[in-house]
Symmetry: C2
């Protein structure tokens, strides 16, 4: 599509100057609208080396108050970033509501460069393309404006510019080896870029090509397109996005009411199994560390189901340098101002490490759904968004274990009463627990729907029958061990 | 993506039988929900020859009342269809609200077959891919559920089935030459299908692969997926779709208030020019007929601006066998029950013919917007939908001319008064005209926005200054002639 692109006629210098004055003024005026309407704006600047992205970016941000934007230079991933899922470094940098983020370079650069350098096979390339399409779409679905610019210059123009930069010793450092390689392989790059641009030219995040031969003209195109894009996005504020069809293969799961809860272990069995399994898990922890396999474990379950004690038996077997437990409470303001999965992306482990989530991203389809903390459209969309999120973890090679810790209503009552009557346990029980208990049936419906819709074959739910806590702990250990072993 | 697809484990025959009973019952139950909620459902069945699409389709419709569905067998385009835009034969067949349409074969077949047979170059292929993506998306945006199945069998299975069909003289007619070609070029077909499936696997209309080795299992997969898709679509009823960013290059156009209306022609000039231009147009009409160039002309303008008289001067020059005038009033019930562009797709001419629309698809962003006949989201989305529609006409090679017939408010008043006072003109003036006149300023804003947002470089608006009707008529003739000449 870049190849077939017909450059718009460049206006006269006078017209450019005139329109630029208007456009700069309008962009400046938009920042208050963005702030008020809490619109997050992600601006991506890709293009040929030497096409002048940096220069235009410098001009554009001059119209903005520094409190309203961040700029990010996304070169090659760092060593730390290489140990995270592909989208990690991009997802953690998305803007807050009401703010701009300008990315100088993006996932396009990472993907096409790897392709051109032969570092990525076709299958991996296509998997990452799918991730990118999902990423851009879920941002849009969650109210983000994503504007993508590709700065275009011809082969000769690039050659000329690189030469000029190199000949001046003040600017020669700006020409990388990669830029020269790009120029001498211009046609090959064009083919790869063209294919990428076509594949990622989504309706919700289309590409704009910027004719970058003339700097002021490039700035004008970018500024006018930004203003127009913001105006369109402001019209979409409050619109709900389509609930997508599920396309992930799902396991058929039982309803909570069908789960047998009379499973139990004797004290001796428990003690013996606990010791054996913890030893086994400790060994595996070393192996996954050496093989750089990431492990993500999520716990969800009824209040007083025994999540905490269960997690303790797991961590007791682990080397403290290789795991982290993340207790998840309600989001903080800076977290609420971003895509609801942002705070979980931020907490993802490095490869070879284990992250245990005590409550998780499933809050969206349980407490947030039932307490009205998000719209119905938000939680309806979340099943797919969560399946997509976990697919990123799966693509990364992670062991994913999701536990639902199940007890019956009578057991919960007994444990609540015990907590209330035992001074050293009283901190564990609050009025909220009693209020939640009243909504047991609503929660049960929500959990049934959640388990049905998010038990993908790459990240199914595991039910821990926890009327007998011993039984649940042993099953959790065994499940984690089995799932790790599958990946070794 | 078909290549990497991992077939779900086929359940036992008993489980299939059991689940099929449930799924059939559920599908049957859904037809009333669809009717009530006015959901239109388009089901597309593509796949390998001999994979059993027809058999499954036969089973699926057994669960439905014939009043609720239509089936369409889409083989190769007919001679008439070949003379229309690429999407024509598909767009005119979309279901009514509350109904199913089952397509046995689709645009996939047309596109991939042409590609495999070498009848289509890469550029045209990509242009059609874009059309398909827009088509499926605009259906979804307008409340359609579009479910796409690809029936998959292995090369050997296909070979075996074709042989069986051929050996039985009752069924041998069903095996086409194309099916045998497909089997002997299975891998080549697979590559082309895979690329197509990947490119058209949209979030709003994803592909489902059906493991078709076992017929009952294929039916079960289709039936269960249909039920699930319908349930998701029912949740989306009433959701508004995202207003997309404009990506079409736009011409900068004046506001109506900036248009000079004191342009006029003397009677002699008018008479001379009219004669010359009508003769020229008559010649051109023959040329476009021979060269099979389609012409689409749309008239919009103020009441009493002189549209009718203007159109007459155009048609006076034309051979009646080669043009049609379509007066556009409010849509009829069967038109209202479909995508709002459907009735215009239906009225598109054959190539070499001229269609003149007296009022047009722009009603959406004028009268429907101002009278509340559609939602704000509907008309906000329409600018892009219309640009996409006209892009289809442009891709087809059509001459597209859109006239806005402009007069000032005083001129309208004078003409209204004249109509009222002249018995033979009284039929031309209604209370509605007076009511519309009261909304002049609102209409003017809407028209300014429309002209600004839909003057693409391939289908710009032409303003006819019509305070002097003679001037406007001559300008219309001259414009049509110029635009036709550009395409010759």
């Amino acid at each position: 599509m870049l190849k077939d692109w017909i450059k718009a006629d460049r206006p006269s210098d006078e017209e450019i100057a005139e329109r630029l004055k208007t456009a700069r003024f309008e962009l400046n005026a938009r920042q208050m609208a963005i702030k008020e309407k809490k619109l997050p704006v992600l601006v991506i600047m890709d293009g040929w080396g030497g096409a002048g992205k940096g220069g235009v970016l410098g001009k554009v941000i001059k119209n903005l108050d520094p409190r309203f934007y961040k700029t990010e230079t996304l070169g090659k991933p760092s060593e730390d970033e290489k140990r995270r899922p592909f989208l990690y470094r991009y997802f953690v940098r998305i803007p807050e509501a009401g703010q701009f983020s300008f990315f100088d370079g993006s996932w396009m650069d990472e993907l096409t460069r790897a392709r051109l350098q032969g570092d990525m096979d076709k299958e991996q390339y296509h998997r990452h393309l799918t991730s990118i399409k999902r990423f851009e779409r879920t941002l849009s679905d969650n109210g983000y404006l994503c504007v993508k610019f590709f700065f275009h210059i011809s082969k000769n123009e690039q050659k000329k510019r690189l030469k000029e930069l190199e000949e001046d010793k003040d600017t020669s450092w700006r020409v990388e080896k990669w830029d020269r390689w790009q120029n001498s392989h211009y046609d090959e790059c064009m083919d790869v870029y063209d294919e990428y641009l076509e594949a990622t030219n989504q309706f919700v995040a289309p590409w704009y090509f910027i004719d970058s031969k003339n700097r002021k003209w490039a700035e004008l195109q970018v500024t006018e397109l930004l203003v127009r894009s913001i105006d369109t996005a402001l019209k979409n504020i409050g619109h709900s996005a389509t609930v997508l069809q599920n396309t992930f293969p799902l396991k058929r799961m039982p309803a909570l009411s069908e789960i047998e809860l009379d499973l139990a272990l004797s004290d001796e069995e428990y003690a013996r199994e606990l010791k054996d399994l913890q030893e086994r898990l400790a060994e595996l922890h070393n192996k996954i560390y050496r093989k750089k396999i990431p492990v993500v474990i999520a716990y969800e379950g009824w209040d007083a189901a025994g999540k905490g004690g269960n997690i303790k038996r797991l961590t007791a077997a682990l080397d403290p340098r290789g795991f982290e437990v993340h207790p998840i409470a309600s989001p903080e303001p800076h977290e609420k101002n971003r895509h609801y999965l942002w705070r979980f992306w931020k907490r993802l482990p490095k490869d070879g490490h284990i992250a245990i989530f005590d409550r998780s991203w499933y809050g969206r389809v349980m407490v947030e759904r039932l307490e009205g903390f998000c719209s119905e459209n938000d939680w309806q969309r979340a099943y797919n968004e969560i399946n997509e999120f976990e697919k990123e973890l799966d693509d990364w090679g992670a062991v994913i274990v999701k536990f639902w810790v199940q007890i019956d209503k009578d057991t919960q009552l007994a444990r609540f009463t015990d907590r209330q009557n035992t001074p050293e346990k009283q901190w564990k029980i609050t009025d909220e627990d009693w209020r939640n208990r009243e909504k047991w049936d609503l929660y049960e419906d929500a959990v049934d729907e959640m388990i049905k819709k998010t038990s993908t074959d790459y990240a199914p739910w595991f039910i821990l029958e926890s009327n007998d806590k011993h039984y649940a702990r042993i099953k959790a250990l065994r499940t984690v061990i089995e799932e790790i072993e599958k990946k070794l």
